[in-house]
């Protein structure tokens, strides 16, 4: 049998090359303008800015604990623990929790006093997607400290909505 493959394959290769070029351009463009993919992170940054009024945030002293893998994002146990003597002169005033991947970045704020004893808070939050969650802590002396944790959010196979 004599099947001619020459012409169709040449055109196919050219089309393939053109498509590859378009893909490369798109990838490069996304690299330069990640704003679409990271829009939520910008909102989170804005929310943090509002809390600190642009003040410097130091790393450390704040531990945010969430399970690394979550079976359902509707109810995720979240714990914030701040290293502080919790005395009248040196205590944690506010703990803010901000989620990078939620439709609204602010999750909650806890207001403590020297009578709190510890700066350990546990609650259960909604996480819309796999993301990084931040705890921004304001001390009694006005300084800001931060900690964060990342998690993967999965979903069960058989849900109500098809």
């Amino acid at each position: 049998m004599n099947m001619k493959f020459n012409s169709p394959l040449k055109i196919h290769r050219r089309t393939w090359m053109q498509q590859l070029q378009k893909l490369a351009l798109l990838a490069f463009g996304t690299y330069l303008m990640p704003s679409i993919a990271l829009a939520k992170k910008e909102e989170a940054d804005e929310a943090i800015q509002k809390i600190t009024s642009g003040a410097k945030i130091q790393e450390g002293r704040v531990t945010l604990t969430i399970p690394p893998l979550v079976e359902n994002g509707n109810l995720v146990v979240l714990k914030v623990s701040v290293d502080s003597p919790m005395t009248a002169n040196d205590y944690v005033k506010v703990i803010h929790v901000i989620a990078e991947g939620n439709p609204l970045p602010n999750i909650f704020a806890a207001y403590l006093t020297p009578r709190s004893g510890t700066a350990n808070i546990t609650t259960r939050v909604r996480l819309a997607d796999s993301q990084r969650v931040w705890a921004i802590v304001q001390m009694s002396n006005g300084s800001f400290w931060q900690g964060s944790a990342e998690t993967l959010v999965t979903l069960s196979a058989c849900t109500e909505m098809v």
């Binding site: 079976e71 509707n74 999965t154 196979a157 849900t159 109500e160």
Partner: protein
């Protein structure tokens, strides 16, 4: 044998593709497709002896969710239990009597009851919810409570917790034999657009993964459950309807004979397992 097939195949390829380069591309494509098919086939093959012993899906949960179930101060289902306790004492209906008027202290009279359902009562296969409604309509003169209503869930949760930790005692009897067999047929029959049976996932492939989650054996040993997906308490029938929508099948109606038969089979399949109600599940 494989070598002969390979040689014949390569000969065929070289005959039809004048260019060697094209022949190689064709061969690579075929090999790639074959490997994909083999990988798919391997993962779809049923594992040897899928269910050897009964395992509660509690074991598949994260430590946080296990703690949520185990600790009453963390389990949201306890609100429904409190509501159920209140309803148990509430006089209502045409006869103005409460559950307590006939059954007294639920802790005594209802102990072990939830482990027996579904069962044949007066010739009819009744689920726990069905029996609650039966009592309400005939004894209290009250209309039946809708499935997934706050009140029915509360009463179911309150009754189920009285049997917490006790083994499921549903067994095959001459009376329920026919219904049990029907339930087994529902379990083994393919359904829906995805054309899957319960058994294919929960019997043959229990312990394997579907998406990011482990496939459980699917025992109803913790109902009613606070399902994180629902963000509220729900019955086993609600969960079964979710399974059916998962395979794009026509869902059984709440309170239907098919549902009761399937529930009966599932409870019989889970016999001996301790009741964890009210459970927490993702």
């Amino acid at each position: 044998m494989v070598m002969t097939v390979m040689k014949l195949f390569i000969k065929h390829v070289l005959q039809f593709h004048k260019s060697f380069v094209r022949a190689v591309i064709y061969l690579r494509l075929i090999t790639f497709c074959c490997s994909i098919l083999l990988a798919a086939a391997a993962s779809m093959a049923a594992p040897q002896g899928a269910i050897n012993s009964k395992q509660s899906s509690y074991e598949l949960m994260t430590p946080e969710n296990k703690a949520m179930q185990d600790d009453p101060s963390l389990n949201p289902a306890m609100f429904w239990v409190a509501e159920g306790e209140s309803l148990w004492q509430t006089k209502s209906g045409q006869k103005n009597i409460a559950c307590a008027s006939c059954h007294g202290d639920a802790k005594k009279s209802m102990r072990g009851v939830a482990t027996q359902f579904p069962k044949i009562i007066k010739g009819r296969l009744q689920t726990l919810e069905g029996q609650i409604n039966q009592c309400r309509s005939t004894q209290q003169g009250e209309p039946a409570l809708a499935y997934e209503s706050k009140e029915l869930l509360a009463l179911t949760a309150y009754l189920a917790i009285q049997s917490k930790g006790m083994p499921i005692t549903v067994k095959e009897t001459p009376a329920n034999q026919g219904q049990l067999k029907k339930g087994q047929q529902w379990f083994q029959e393919r359904m829906g657009q995805l054309n899957l049976s319960c058994a294919q996932c929960h019997e043959d492939r229990a312990g394997l993964k579907l998406g990011g989650s482990l496939i459980p054996q699917g025992h109803p040993n913790a109902y009613p459950i606070y399902r994180l997906e629902w963000q509220t308490l729900g019955s086993v029938q609600r969960r079964l309807r979710n399974c059916m929508s998962g395979v794009r099948a026509q869902q059984f109606e709440y309170g239907s004979p098919e549902m009761a038969q399937l529930e009966l089979f599932l409870m019989w399949r889970a016999r001996g397992m301790p009741l964890e109600a009210p459970g927490v599940r993702p």
